[in-house]
Amino acid sequence: MNYTRNLRYCRRQFINVYNNSFSTSVIKSQSVQQVAQPKRICIVGAGPAGFYAAQYLLKQLSDCSVDIVEKLPVPFGLVRFGVAPDHPEVKNVINTFTKTAENPRLRFFGNVTLGTYVTLQELRERYHAVLLTYGADQDRELELHNEQQAHVISARKFVAWYNGLPGAEQLQPDLSGRDVTIVGQGNVAVDVARMLLSPIDNLKVTDTTEYALEALANSKVERVHLVGRRGPLQAAFTIKELREMLKLPQVETRWRAEDFTGVDAQLDKLQRPRKRLTELMLKSLGEQSSRQSGDVSKQFLPIFLRAPKAIVEREMEFAITELQENSAVATSATEKLPADLILRSIGYKSSCADAGINFDARRGQVCNEQGRVLQDKETKQTAPGLYVAGWLGTGPTGVILTTMNGAFAVAKTICNDIAANAFDTTSLKPGFDPSNKPIVTWEGWQRIDKHETEAGKAKGKPREKIVSIPEMLRIAGV
């Protein structure tokens, strides 16, 4: 077995030399050193941050080899499990990630969980550098009494449910009532509202899981309230997502005119993105009285200046707020909104996967300075060779572009640190030993991918996702 591994290692080196031989002789002479000792980097988490960092490292460091370990048997993180099924174009980044994965200097090990299957300590011993990019898999809570009731669920879980995250199929959200109240106004909240209000035929051609399609087809939901603590000028959703809602067939968007008092007068002071978003809201508000409500069957109801206060039977109580220097301050006045189902969408946070990570539990992210993980909070000393990128390091904000730039920046920091000998890259590191372990390789994922796309084709969907981990492993040939 050992012999096989060595052979595999030699093959990798051979391919490196082979690839480099196309380039200049300078690179060729570098590759001689590289045969002696590749710089081994391990990335934990196969989402956008992990793949973009890998792409950068492989390009900039001709003498590195990158291993990506991933908790799930399948790659791509929130591109697969977060991006809405009716936004397939956003998932085109998968093509670039696949190209990165097919680089002979990259290995993918799916079904490897940090903290249980392998410890951070082990990874740090086996690699010169470790980059944590395992994202944010928890959500912030409202911290209200009754929040644990069955009709209060997190938008994160709801997204995971329609996107087929293993384990989320058990959610069974109750869609038998007329009113859904979503607390929070970010793009996740708007995605969830759109999934609840879209004509079912629009969703049937997406990779929404079959069980979710069935539940949504039987849904009795007619009104979705989208509630935010602050005003229209602080709205967290982006204009693309709003424009999509405004164009949704058979759905009417209704604003509350009183929420927009004085907003007109502010327009000229705004930066272009905020200005265009506000103008679109005002335009929609202006048109709503004259709008024909002919074939409208559902309503989207954005509501501003309301802070969650209490969860009561089939209702949610909000404090009416006032803006003071851009923050919402609760007044004594309240309003109750009908809420057969409450979806909490006030932000994600990360969890601490391994006791060896310096983790800020309050903020839900790894303590770091520009991607370098801090050894402890007081001294600001960094842990040599340990890095973090993506939402795990920055908190859960921004679009894929933000994550991409952040991941490139941290990868650049790693390159700079290696150039400056900030940590040891000369000793021999064995890397992760996948032998005799139930891991999913890239070839295993390709088998799952093929299976899913073929199953989808029969239904007119881009893919039918497999949700069960044992089935994924079976198809991958583990």
Binding site: M1, Y3, T4, L7, R8, R11, I15, Y18, Y52, Q55, Y56, K59, Q60, H87, E89, V90, N92, V93, N95, T96, E102, P104, T238, I239, K240, R243, R272, P273, R276, L277, V399, I400, L401, M404, N405, F408, A409, K412
Partner: protein
Amino acid sequence: MTVINTIRNSARLTLRNIWLRNNNNISRGSSATTNFTRTFSLGLALRQQQDVVNVTFVRASGEKIKTSGKVGDSLLDVVVNNNVDLDGFGACEGTLTCSTCHLIFKTSDYEKLPDKPGDEELDMLDLAYDLTDTSRLGCQINLTKDMDGLEVHVPATINDARAA
């Protein structure tokens, strides 16, 4: 047996990668195809030469990347077809769902562009870094003969900081 399989798999992988690489070049490099056919007729050759539009991408560091496309190509096509080294450019592959192909035009060039940006393009530009009044998405700009010699600025990103 395992050893043999390993060798066989590695050979297969290498072959496939080479095949993919070559295949990519053929399907993407429309300019390469042009070169093949150029010898067939002088008229055709002349017409194809006229179709070539020279474009220069200028990084924030000032570095200029001179390249070309043909009439009808988008600026994103030009980057992809010529393997212009801009990491992360065109992440959504021209489907107006990201802003990674953000480019900044000179005012005079911007005003001459045949189509004004649509709402969807402006929506995505609103998410771009270093947004200017003469920003456009490269995937929405199709080359015309008039654009020959065009210079566009690539906004400052991590890539440029590296190149500088």
